[in-house]
Amino acid sequence: MIQLKNLGFRYSGAERLALDGIDLTVEDGAFLGLIGSSGAGKSTLCYALSGIVPHHYRGDFYGEARIEGMDSAEHRPEELSRVLGCVFQDIDGQMVASVVEDEILFGLENFGVPRDEIEGRVTQALAAAGISELRGRLISELSGGQRQKVAIAAITALRPKIIVLDEPTGELDPRSSRRVFETLKELNEKHGVTIIVVEQKIMLLCEFAKRLAVMEEGRLILEGEVPAVLQSAGRLEAAGVNIPRVTTLARALREEGLYGGKLPLNLDEGEAMMREVLRPC
């Protein structure tokens, strides 16, 4: 479980707070989508969860972040990384090896995973990310999307209890983006891994996430189940967040008194809504 209490952080030399009094509890097995405009503090929150803030990036830190009971201010990132894995935005910067297989092995070797278990984990992580055929390839020869999948596989191979991903589909095409989310869903539902994902592809996020948290200027302004958060369309738009078009359409239909059902979050639900609206009386 993750518990954030009045968490705040100001980067050294910065004028405004990057995180401003965040209170948030993420239960075990949750799938939380984190949204907000650029500069809202989403990446800094990911850093705070992993312990990079305050141990690596210096500044004014206050409040408390407890990851599986460990206070992130007291425990170093390598201790937190036993339970929490992170994939950050800058994929190239995260690579520590030249070959895909070595990139996956790096964490497994560091954590002293037994040798007879390593092979299975590498194979499984590569297969789950859909990149089994890239195992012996040089990372420098891969496309941005393939590198992104390698970074995700390198973390999933470690099987942490919590995975935090900062825009994991930033360089992926729609099909690959969906596959990444399907992998995350499988980890979440079959293995009980807690997933926290920062994502700009709001429709995709709303389809897979169970809960949404919205950030604006370092503050957490909304948090709850996806349909409930999407009800606050005005606040979301003011915070610079797009909401799925089918949801916008449903809200417009509601205002006109043409639809009274639940808010659709994906195209299938949108289609069902339109069938209901257009059904002859």
């Binding site: 390598e78 030249s98 070959v99 954590f111 040089l138 390198a154």
Partner: protein, 253 residues
Amino acid sequence: MKGILDYVPGSSFLHRLNPLVKLLLAFVLCAACFVTGNHFIVLGVIALNLALALSAGILGRALRMLRSLLKLSALLFLVQIFFVREGATLLALPLGICITDLGLSFSLLFVLRLLAAALPLGLMLSVTQTSDIPNVLVRRLGLPYQYAFVLGTAIRFIPLFAQEMAGIMEAQTARGVEFDTGNFFKKVALLLPLCAPLLVSSVRRIEGGAISAELRGFYLRGRKSGYKDYPFALRDLCALLGGACALALAVLF
């Protein structure tokens, strides 16, 4: 795009050697160039390097390395030849400058040594996965992993920085900067301002790598944590014997 020092996958004799043996072999061949004063031995080391490159399927790359070193070698040759004044004068030039037989011989040896010593390291990096170097140093020599990792990362970053620089140059070319000028000094003047963005992006990349490594248990690693074993085989012994013979020849002649 492959850099000149990137790993080239393969299954040749050189590829299959133990990484530690490859490292030792490279250093032995380098040492052979410096313990001998015989031009032909140094030329022999260059030929041996090219033969090894051919056997590993990277002759083209070895020749490209030689070609890229030739410009620097020519510059060093010119500097050396005018500064060595001992020996019989072969050519007297104005302002008291002269070329002597010893100067010519020393400059030639200097340049040949440069070429012969650079090739083995380049070849070794081309046939060895970067992560194998720190891993074998930890497992076989007991070097602390943190130091070995730094060495491996430094080697890995050489082609990455070259790519980064190429990217920055492409961006500048698109804005109208002409890097393909024949004037050496003008080219240096154009390249110097690019050092700042290269430094910034390099520091950012290093910082990202450090964070990523820390978040994947970098400090928890022990000597026995490695997954891969690096056993010695008969071919490793043969390679070491070959290297020892080359060194012995260099010492004797």
